[in-house]
Amino acid sequence: MLETVILIVFAMIGVSLLLNLWRLVVGPSIPDRILALDTMYINTIALIVLYGMNMGTSLYFEAALLIALLGFVSTVAVCKYLLRGDIIE
């Protein structure tokens, strides 16, 4: 049963990644695009964790941790650039 459920959740997260891509392409303003990228990296972490569960190994959690760190830092850096025109003053 668990294999079927993992496949269904794979499909759900794939659909949500496509929706985020739509917002990233269409998005009328720059904060919309940053928000879509932020959601995309969170969904990518979900995809990597699910893939690790499907393969039965916990090796992929290190990649997920790296993506979490870099995604948060890049979101804050781009927002800071939008606010101030400079990242480190």
Partner: protein
């Protein structure tokens, strides 16, 4: 029994992630679109990581510290990035629809 719990957590997490992304696409202006990813997607990720913790604790090599680290990190950083995004949206004076409340409370800078 454990398989049912893990399946329920996985399905709940996947549905919440999907609901967050649908909200990101369907909502009319940015101030409403921010709600989906900051709330629904974060809760869905927490559910998925709890399912992974239960899976590895029950079938695999035991609960490692990495799942706990990822979920703690995501739950801490989602409000901060939401705050930065709404601050930049206010700074850029984005358009909003009529029924969005609180526009008159934004101070001029």
């Amino acid at each position: 029994m454990m398989e049912w719990v893990i399946s329920f957590l996985l399905l709940l997490g996947g549905s919440l992630v999907l609901v967050g992304s649908i909200g990101l696409v369907k909502m009319p202006d940015f101030f409403m679109r921010l709600h989906g990813p900051t709330k629904a997607t974060t809760l869905g990720m927490a559910c998925l990581l709890f399912a992974a913790m239960a899976y590895y604790g029950f079938y695999g090599e035991g609960v490692s510290v990495k799942e706990v680290l990822i979920s703690m990190f995501l739950l801490i950083t989602a409000p901060i990035s939401g705050y930065m995004l709404i601050k930049s949206a206010i700074h850029h004076r984005l358009d909003s629809i009529e029924s969005t409340r609180g526009k008159d409370k934004i101070e001029e800078d």
